[in-house]
C-alpha cells in the first residue's frame, strides 16, 4: 500500500486510494505526514480517496489529522458520485454487525407494559424488565439486565445483534426469528452476552470486545 505525495496544481495531493477501511486510511495519512518533513506549514492538501465515500465526521477527522501537522484540507477527490456509493464505514467493533446511522439513547428502566420502538439502534442505560418490550430496526444494546423482550432488526435485518450486560430475556427476536430460553434450565452467568443469527439460528455467546 502506498501513500504518494504528488505535486498537483497549486498544492499537494495525497493519494489514499489503496486503503480499504477508514482506520487504515487515517493511519496511512498520519504515517505519510510523519515521514515527510519538507512540506511548509500552512500548505493546502488535497486527498484522493478513490472510490470510497466518507461521512462528514470522517472528513472532519482527516481535517484534524492534517491540522495536527499544520496543514489545511483543500478538497477531497472521489471517483464516484456519492448517491450511488456503497457505504464505507469504520470497522465495526463487533464483527459482522449491521450499521445504522441513527441511535437512540434511553436512560431509564423499561418496566412491564412499556414498549419502546426505535427506527435505528437503541442503547438502554437501565434494565428491561419482564413484560417490557424494546423493538428496534437496528441493533439493541442494554447497559443493564435484559429480562423482558427485545426485538432487533424488526424490518428484517438478520445481521442485527442484541447485546446486554446481563442477558436473561423472556424472549429474543431478531428479524423474523423468535427464541426463548429452554424450560427448566437456568444458567446464570456473570458476564455480558451477545445474541445474533448464525446459520439461521439465534445463538448467544460471551461478548468480547
Amino acid at each position: 500500500m502506498s501513500t504518494a505525495f504528488k505535486q498537483a496544481s497549486g498544492g499537494m495531493l495525497i493519494d489514499l486510494k489503496a486503503y480499504n477501511t477508514f482506520s487504515q486510511m487515517k493511519k496511512g495519512l498520519e504515517k505519510k505526514l510523519t515521514s515527510v518533513t519538507e512540506l511548509p506549514i500552512g500548505s493546502k492538501v488535497s486527498i484522493d480517496i478513490g472510490k470510497k465515500i466518507l461521512s462528514n465526521k470522517q472528513v472532519r477527522e482527516l481535517e484534524d489529522t492534517l491540522l495536527d501537522f499544520g496543514m489545511h484540507l483543500d478538497g477531497l477527490m472521489s471517483g464516484r458520485m456519492p448517491d450511488l456509493e456503497e457505504d464505507f464505514y469504520e470497522d465495526p467493533l463487533i464483527e459482522g454487525m449491521s450499521h445504522y446511522d441513527d441511535t437512540a439513547l434511553i436512560c431509564q428502566h423499561i418496566r412491564s407494559g412499556q414498549k419502546k420502538f426505535v427506527q435505528g439502534n437503541v442503547v438502554v442505560l437501565g434494565d428491561i424488565n419482564p413484560g417490557a418490550e424494546v423493538v428496534a430496526g437496528g441493533n439493541i444494546l442494554v447497559m443493564g439486565s435484559l429480562r423482558g423482550l427485545a426485538h432487533a432488526g424488526v424490518f428484517g435485518d438478520e445481521g442485527a445483534i442484541i447485546a446486554a450486560y446481563r442477558l436473561i430475556p423472556t424472549q429474543l427476536r431478531i428479524a423474523t426469528h423468535i427464541t426463548r430460553p429452554p424450560d427448566g434450565e437456568r444458567n446464570v452467568v456473570d458476564y455480558p452476552e451477545i445474541a445474533r443469527i448464525r446459520e439461521g439460528r439465534v445463538i448467544i455467546e460471551k461478548l468480547k470486545i
Binding site: 407494559g113 414498549k115 423472556t170 424472549q171
Partner: protein
C-alpha cells in the same frame, strides 16, 4: 359434551382469581378435557406467568380480536397437557383495546374446539369486567373469608345477575381452619348466608400455592398440596361429578390427634 364458558371473577383483587383459573384449567386438562384459559386482564396480565408460559407469547388477545393474527395463532399450547391452551392478555395495551361484543364473538368461536372456556376476569367492575363476562354462560365467584372480599363478591353477584348470569357459584379461597375454629375468621356458613349462592368448593390456605405460582407450575400438579387437592375436587364438580365437600380438619390436626392417641396409649 356441550362446551361451557365460565368466567372466574371476584371484584376484589388478590383473592385468587388467576390462581383459581390456572389450577382449574390444569385440573380439567388432567381429566382429559379440552380447556382454553383466557386472560382478560389486559395491561396487568399474570395468568401466563402463573402457568409458566410467559416466554412463549408472540400474539395476544388484542392481536386476535383486531385481526392482526388468526385466533389459533394466538393460542399457546401448554407444555404439560395436550388439551390445555392459554390465550394471553396484551401487556402494553389497556382494557379498552377489546370490546364486550368482540369478546362474545371470540368465545363463541372457541366453543367449537373446547369443552371448557375459562375466562380469568380482572379485578374491578369496569370495562375489563364487562369484557370478561360478555361471552360467559356461567360464573364462578372467588371470595376469601374477609368482610371486604365478601362485600365485593356480593356486589359482583348483583352485577352478574343484572347481566343475565344467574348460574353463579362460589369458591371460598384461603380459609384457615384453625382461625375459623377459634372464631377469628369468617365461617363458611356465614359467607353463604350473606351471598346466598351455591358453594362450589373451599380451598385452604396453602404455602405451596406461593411456591407453585412463582415456579409457574400449578399446584394441582403436586400431590402433596392441599390447595391443589381442593382444586382437583372443584374441577370434578365442574364436570358434573358429585364430590363431598372439603373437610376443615387439616393434616396438622390429624397429626395432633395421632400424637394424643399415642400419649393416651402410654
Amino acid at each position: 359434551m356441550k362446551s361451557r364458558v365460565i368466567v372466574i371473577t371476584s371484584g376484589k383483587g388478590g383473592v385468587g382469581k388467576t390462581t383459581t383459573t390456572a389450577n382449574l384449567g390444569t385440573a380439567l386438562a388432567m381429566m382429559g378435557k379440552k380447556v382454553i384459559m383466557i386472560d382478560t386482564d389486559i395491561g396487568l396480565r399474570n395468568l401466563d406467568v402463573v402457568m409458566g408460559l410467559e416466554n412463549r407469547i408472540v400474539f395476544d388477545i388484542v392481536d386476535a380480536v383486531n385481526g392482526h393474527c388468526k385466533l389459533k395463532q394466538a393460542l399457546i399450547k401448554d407444555k404439560r397437557f395436550d388439551g390445555l391452551y392459554l390465550l394471553p392478555a396484551a401487556q402494553t395495551k389497556d382494557k379498552t383495546a377489546v370490546s364486550p361484543h368482540q369478546m362474545k364473538n371470540m368465545t363463541n368461536e372457541l366453543r367449537k374446539d373446547f369443552d371448557f372456556i375459562l375466562v380469568d376476569c380482572p379485578a374491578g367492575i369496569e370495562q375489563g369486567f364487562k369484557n370478561a363476562i360478555a361471552g360467559a354462560d356461567k360464573a364462578v365467584v372467588v371470595a376469601t373469608p374477609e368482610v371486604s372480599s365478601v362485600r365485593d363478591a356480593d356486589r359482583i353477584i348483583g352485577l352478574l345477575e343484572a347481566a343475565g348470569l344467574t348460574e353463579t357459584k362460589l369458591i371460598i379461597n384461603r380459609i384457615r381452619s384453625k382461625m375459623v375454629k377459634r372464631g377469628d375468621m369468617m365461617d363458611i356458613s356465614d359467607i353463604i348466608d350473606i351471598l346466598a349462592i351455591e358453594l362450589l368448593g373451599v380451598v385452604p390456605e396453602d404455602e405451596a400455592i406461593v411456591v407453585s405460582t412463582n415456579r409457574g407450575e400449578p399446584a394441582v400438579l403436586e400431590n402433596v398440596s392441599r390447595a391443589g387437592a381442593a382444586y382437583r375436587r372443584i374441577a370434578r364438580r365442574l364436570t358434573g361429578e358429585e364430590v363431598p365437600m372439603y373437610s376443615l380438619d387439616d393434616p396438622e390436626n390429624i397429626m395432633d390427634k395421632f400424637k394424643k392417641m399415642l400419649k393416651l396409649a402410654r
